[in-house]
Symmetry: C2
Subunit: 181 residues, 2 copies
Amino acid sequence: MSSDLSALLGDLITVNNRLTRVAAHAAHGTESAATWRTLSVLRQLGPIRLGELAARSRVSQPTATKLVTHLAERGWAERLADPLDARVASTVITPSGVAALDAWRSELAEALLPMFSGLTDAEVETLEEAIGILRARLDGSETPAVRPAVHTTSVGALPGTSAVHSSSTSPGASAAAGASA
Amino acid sequence: MSSDLSALLGDLITVNNRLTRVAAHAAHGTESAATWRTLSVLRQLGPIRLGELAARSRVSQPTATKLVTHLAERGWAERLADPLDARVASTVITPSGVAALDAWRSELAEALLPMFSGLTDAEVETLEEAIGILRARLDGSETPAVRPAVHTTSVGALPGTSAVHSSSTSPGASAAAGASA
DNA sequence: TGGACATACATAGTCAGACTATGTATAGTG
DNA sequence: CACTATACATAGTCTGACTATGTATGTCCA
C-alpha cells in the first residue's frame, strides 16, 4: 500500500512547512525557531565545534557563528577554548540554556494543545514513532555537503550513525520521544 | 507513561525545524519554501480569497498578497475578480502552477531519497499515517467552527496510482482523514 | 627553521520572508 | 448620504539565511 516514496516525501515537506508556520505563531513572545533548534542540537550533542554544529544544524558556518553568538549573549551557551587547537571554539549549552529550552517546550506545548487535543492513543503513538524515524534519519545521515577534508585526523569519533531501524510497534519510538535530546 | 503530550509536541516542532533546514538544502535551484507552501494550499483549496489563503497558510494578509503577486508573476496563479464583490480578488492555481509544483516535488524527493532510503514498509506506513494526522489537524483547526470529522477513512487510502503526484488531498472537504475524535 | 598551504572560525554585505502599521476602494447600514 | 466595516494593497522594518572574504592557527616539507 506504500504508494510512492516520492509522493510521501513531497507530502512530508509540505506538511512540515505548514507546521512551521503554526509553530511560529505558537512560540510568540520568545526567541526564534533558529535559536531553539540550535539549542536543541547543543543539548543533544554536548560540547561541539562550531563547524560540526553548522553541519548538524544544516546551516552555513557563518550562520552558526551568529547563532552561537546570540546564544552566548543570552547566557544560554558558552564557548570553550580547545587546549589542543587554538583555532577551535567549542560550544556548550549552559544550565540556563537548558532551562530556557525546557521553558520554550512547555510554552509551545501549551499553545499547541488546542490544535492537538483529543488525539487518540493510537495517533499519539503514531506521531511518536514518526518522530523517532525522522530523528534517526536526521541524525544518521552525515552531512553530504561540507566535508572536503581528506585528512585523517580521526580524533573524536562522531556519535552519529546510530543505525536505528526499529520497525513500528517497537519500543524505540516511545523512548525516542521521551528522551528529547 | 507513553504520552506526555507536552514532550511530544516539543519533539515534533524540534524535528520539524530540523527537517525544514534539510528541505531548504534539497530544493536548491528552485523557489522558496513559502512559494511551494502557498502553491500547495492553492491546489488543495482551489479558488480562494486572499484573506482565506492567509488564514490557511498561517501568514498575515500582506504576506499572502506578496506571495500571490510572486506566483502571478511566475504565471503559476491568477487573480479572479469576484462579480459579486469588487473588493475580492480570488486566486487560482494555473496548469503551469500545478506542473511547477509537481516538478518541485519530484526534485525534492530525488534529493531526499538518499536520506530516506531503506525505510521499511512499516516505517513508510507510520510516516504516511503521521502526515495524515498532522494534515487533519492543520486543516481542521482553522475556522472558529471546527469541521467535525465525518467518516473514518483510513489514511492509507490515498490514491497515488493515477498520476505522478498523489496526495495533497482533493479539493473540497476531504480534510478529515484519520481525525476520529 | 621558514615559507606555502590547509583549516577553523569571524566579519561584511546582501537577499528574502515575515511582521505591523497604514492606505484605498468597495460593501453594507441607519 | 454620510458612517462604519470589510478586503486587499502598499510602506517600512526586522531577522535568518546565504556567499564572499578576512584573520589566526595548524601542518607539511624542503
